[in-house]
Subunit: 224 residues, 2 copies
Amino acid sequence: MTTTYGQFCPVAMASEVLTERWTPLVVRELLCGSTRFNDLRRGVPLMSPALLSKRLKTLERVGVVDHVGSEYHLTEAGRELWPVIESMGIWGQRWARGDVIAKHFDASLLMWDIHRNVDTAALPDRRVVVHFHLRGSSDGKSHFWLVLEPSAVDLCLTDPGHDVDVEVAGHVETMIDYWMGRRDLLGAVKAGDLAIAGPRLLVRELPTWFTRSPFAPVPLPVGA
Amino acid sequence: MTTTYGQFCPVAMASEVLTERWTPLVVRELLCGSTRFNDLRRGVPLMSPALLSKRLKTLERVGVVDHVGSEYHLTEAGRELWPVIESMGIWGQRWARGDVIAKHFDASLLMWDIHRNVDTAALPDRRVVVHFHLRGSSDGKSHFWLVLEPSAVDLCLTDPGHDVDVEVAGHVETMIDYWMGRRDLLGAVKAGDLAIAGPRLLVRELPTWFTRSPFAPVPLPVGA
DNA sequence: CGGGATCCTTGACGATACTG
DNA sequence: CAGTATCGTCAAGGATCCCG
C-alpha cells in the first residue's frame, strides 16, 4: 500500500486505513477488548508478530490506536470503526460462500472467542469449570478448560486441576456451527454430534451463560 | 491475497472479499450505478484497466457482481454491501486525517461525481447548460460542461455548442470543499473564491439541483 | 511478555501497448 | 468500447532467529 487512491471521497480515505490485509481483524480484536500484544495475537494466530506490530504502528499513526506502556487501546476514532466491522460481519454471515469460508477449523481460536463471550452474570456465584474435548482441530489442540469465576474467565490449555463441573465433547466443526448460529445445541446433542454432561441445572442453563457469536442472530437471506 | 485468514469469523470472510486494494472503490462505483467498464474506470481513474478487470472477475467469482454482455451489475449480495461502504464513508468523513487525505485534486473525478448526483427534478423542464472553469486540477483539465436535460445528464469535456445558462468558476479545491460539505456556497462566493453567473432564479436555486456528496451532511466529531 | 532484525520469495501492481 | 498481453519492479509478508 505504497500509493494512495488519490481521491477525495471519504470511502477512499477509510479504505486507505482499513483495506490492508489483516487490518479489519486487528481492529475487531481491539473492539472485542484485547489490549495486550499476545492477546491480540491469539485472535489472529496466522498473522506473524512482525506484521501485527507493523499494523498496530500504522493504526497508531492514523489515529485509530493509542499505545501506552504495553497496552493498545482504540481512540475515539477507532471505536467509531465498530459500525464498519459490524456491517462487514453481518454481510459475511449472510453472504460468505464456500470459496471464501475457511477450511480451517481452529479450536484454539474458537475457544478464545468463546472465553471472552461467557456471560458470568448468568452463572452461579461460585467457580464453574468446563472441560472441552474437541476433535478435528487444525491446530492439533483438543483439550480446553474454561475456569469461570464471577469476576474472571480463564482459558487453560492444560488441566488446571480443579474439579470439572461440565464436560463438553464433540467435533470442532460442530461447535463452530453452533457458535455461528448455524446449528442449535439441542439438535446437535440429539443427533449425537455433541455430548454434554454435568449437573442437570447447569447443563439446562448452559445456553444462557455460554453465549454464541455476536453474529449468530443475523438472519440469513431468504431462500438460502 | 493468496492465502486466506483461516478464520470462521464472518468479519474475516467479508475481509477476504473487501480487503483488497481498490475493491471498496469499485463496489462504490457499482453502488452509484455505473455498469459499463469505461464508466467504472472514470470513477477510479488511477486504477489500471487490467487491474479493474481482475477485480471485477474476482467480485463476480465471489457472487457480488453479475456480468452479462458488457454490463456489470451488483447481485443482491453486492447491493447488501451498501451498509459497509456507507459506514466506511461516514468514518472517513469524520476521521480521515491529513496523512491519508489525497493531495490530488482531480477535477474530472469531481465532475464525474457531480454529474451523477444532479437532481434534474429540481430543474426547469428544459435543457440547462452549466459551464465549469476549474483551476488547479491535478489532471490538467479545467473546462467542463454539464448538459442537464429532464431525462439525462451529460458531462462534456469539450464545448457541446449549446448556449450556456450558468457559469461556475473557481479553484478545484474550493469546489471539492463545497462538495464534501466542508464549506458553504454563499461563503465561498462572498470570499471571492467562487464565481457563479447566470439567471437570478437558476443561480438562487442552484443548491437544490446541484447536490453535494452523500457524505456532506455527516456531522464532524465535536471539538474538531 | 513484547516485540525487533534479517533474509528471501512471490505475486501484486504499474506501465505500456495492443486487439477484436 | 471493452478489455488482453506482456513485462518489470518493488514491496508485502512469511520464516526464522534473536533480544531486552
